[in-house]
């Protein structure tokens, strides 16, 4: 198998990025999804549309704007510089932030749907049974929304594994830091190492397929028990 150390490093980096992004998104996305599901405010539609933007924007657009805003003259860049962190382009942290934007709707929307499907009734029942809002959220909403969380995690993870355009724009192709598998495959094609490209790409397809298969069969067997 002609895969090099750089290739394995790229795969590991990809998995690390996808896992961390998913965790971050579940943490950030849950309150956003909850608010979107429950609010009657007139900001619901605009904010919902902003969250959905990465669904329709070409990743290179996201990447480009990240490149500009993370740079020394951009909003994010000036913030990070004032905090003494320098600029985030070409760093793993920068990729993480980019991935969070890129995969945001893929996590928020399934969660929002799950929360909406729960409706108000279970929460009212919980309130009449002396559960305060946080208590009700953890003991009633989360268990009922579990399938939504699983979907959100699967989609967030898988989507980040496939991320390319954003990484291309802000990554800088640094091995071990920003050289993820998708970029590495691109490198192999660029340098006409088709054999390596095949191995790496094929391996990623196989891996993703197995993961998705396992997770989807887990979900449908849950439904059977209902």
């Amino acid at each position: 198998m002609p895969l090099t150390e750089a290739d394995f490093a790229a795969v590991l980096l990809t998995l690390e990025l996808a896992a961390l992004t998913t965790v971050l998104l579940l943490l950030i996305g849950t309150p956003i999804a909850w608010w979107l599901a429950r609010t009657g405010s007139r900001w619901k539609q605009p904010i919902g549309a902003i969250v959905a933007l990465p669904l329709v924007l070409p990743p290179t657009v996201i990447g480009f704007y990240l490149l500009v805003s993370m740079g020394p003259h951009g909003v994010i860049g000036q913030l990070t510089q004032s905090l003494g962190l320098g600029t985030l382009t070409f760093t793993f942290t920068g990729l993480l932030i980019g991935s969070v934007f890129y995969s945001l709707p893929f996590v928020v929307q399934p969660l929002q749907n799950a929360f909406e499907a729960i409706g108000r009734a279970p929460l009212e029942a919980a309130a009449t049974l002396r559960a305060g809002p946080w208590d009700a959220f953890f003991t009633v909403v989360l268990p009922l929304a579990k399938p939504g969380f699983v979907t959100a995690a699967i989609l967030g993870f898988a989507h980040t594994v496939g991320e390319f355009g954003v990484v291309l724009m802000i990554g800088g192709n640094i091995p071990g830091k920003t050289q993820v598998a998708s970029v590495q495959i691109y490198n192999h094609v660029e340098t006409m190492n088709y054999a390596q490209a095949h191995w790496l790409a094929g391996g990623m397809v196989l891996f993703s397929f197995i993961v998705l298969l396992a997770l989807y069969s887990g979900r449908s067997s849950q439904r059977v028990w209902q």
Binding site: A127, T128, R130, A131, P133
Partner: protein, 380 residues
């Protein structure tokens, strides 16, 4: 089937003081405004009756704190739960109410036992006055504890819902049309448990319903709601008989009367019941019941006619000595509703204006009420 009513010795509600519920709610909804001012007894069953859209559920939710009236005051047996003038609003999860939802609203991800324990766990041990076993036994759900709500019938779910609400040892039990979503058979199954609740619990119960029969069977106090406003509020029997309320139950005016079983005639299938205090007897076709058992009967105004003399050769079973109290004209003036006193109870008789004039009905006049049909509450 008759439903025996045991221990119906609920004291006459006293208004004013610690043993009562004072509620004033004003809520603006999209299509109507709820604006009620209620004084309810601090014990027994108070029924909120009205059509859909009359505001009864909205009112109940205000009691629970699930909806927040823009202006409101709520005091339950001495505890103030809302006072908008002072900016006080105790949120739902801090109020000691038990709420039974229309569709039971059980937690789908928890077993019946876990559902029951949900509220129980959340009150300090010192405040638990009802134990799990008690509630289970009261509602007869012991065999269902391990099941998931999805595997229960509608009636079973509703009973679990009631038990679950009780297990928070509430100061007040609120029921939102608990039988509305059930078919007849299930209704019959759950009703007796509701009656047991009534007789065995000390707490006030507020019962929302649009079913006249349910209200007649369970209520001690009746509140009529129409378009978000209270059109009447008072003890059940009095309110039912109020002649100034056109068609209180929309169908015909009817009277509800307490009686005691005296005898049964198996040959003719007739059950005899006696009105307490007056010795006046009624007969009706029914299966046998133990003598002495207390029952409630319903007599529709249209089934009562009046006669100046006691008819000797009539097919009507029940001829009762009566005294005219007052009357009211109804509808297109073709009929008159006459209220008569029979012993200690009152009945309504619906007669034509023609007959009214012809018989020259006067107040205090003694005559005979001919009761053609008597039904026992619960029978259809």
């Amino acid at each position: 089937m008759i439903w025996p009513l045991q221990r119906r010795n609920v004291p006459t509600p006293t208004l004013g003081g610690a043993g009562e519920i004072q509620a004033r709610f004003k809520v603006e909804h999209a299509d109507f405004t709820l604006d009620v001012d209620l004084n309810l007894p601090g014990r027994g069953v108070s029924a909120l009756f009205g059509h859909s859209g009359s505001g009864k559920t909205s009112c109940l939710r205000c009691f629970a704190g699930l909806d927040r009236p823009s202006e409101g005051y709520l005091q339950v047996n001495g505890e103030v739960w809302q006072d908008s003038a002072q900016g006080l609003f105790v949120p739902a999860h801090k109020r000691a109410v038990g709420y039974v939802f229309q569709g039971a609203n059980l937690f789908a991800h928890l077993s019946v036992r876990r559902n029951l324990e949900y509220g129980l766990k959340r009150i300090p041990a010192a405040q638990r006055r009802i134990a799990l076993e008690q509630a289970v036994e009261l509602l007869g759900i012991g065999h269902l504890l391990q099941r998931l709500p999805g595997k229960l019938s509608g009636g079973e779910q509703q009973r679990v819902g009631i038990a679950r609400a009780l297990l928070t040892s509430p100061r007040m039990l609120l029921l939102d049309e608990p039988l509305a979503a059930l078919d007849l058979k299930r209704k019959q199954e759950v009703l007796p448990y509701l009656e047991r609740l009534h007789s065995e619990l000390q707490m006030p119960i507020i019962y929302v319903s649009h079913s006249p029969d349910e209200v007649a069977r369970l209520a001690d106090h009746l509140v009529l709601l129409e378009d978000g406003k209270v059109s009447a509020s008072g003890p059940l029997k009095e309110t039912l008989l109020r002649a100034d309320l056109p068609f209180v139950f929309e169908e015909d005016a009817e009277a509800v009367v307490d009686a005691q079983v005296t005898a049964h005639d198996p040959a003719y299938g007739l059950l005899a019941v006696q009105l307490p205090g007056s010795g006046i007897s009624l007969q009706l076709p029914h299966g046998p019941l133990p003598p002495g058992q207390s029952v409630r009967v319903k007599i529709k105004a249209r089934d009562v006619s009046l006669s100046l003399q006691q008819a000797q050769h009539s097919s009507v079973l029940n001829l009762l000595p009566a005294r005219v109290v007052d009357w009211i004209n109804v509808a297109e003036q073709a009929h008159v509703l006459v209220r008569v006193q029979v012993g200690r109870e009152q009945l309504m008789a619906r007669i034509t204006r023609y007959s009214f004039d012809r018989l020259n009905i006067q107040r205090e006049q003694s005559l005979w009420a001919q009761v053609k049909s008597v039904s026992l509450l619960g029978a259809s």
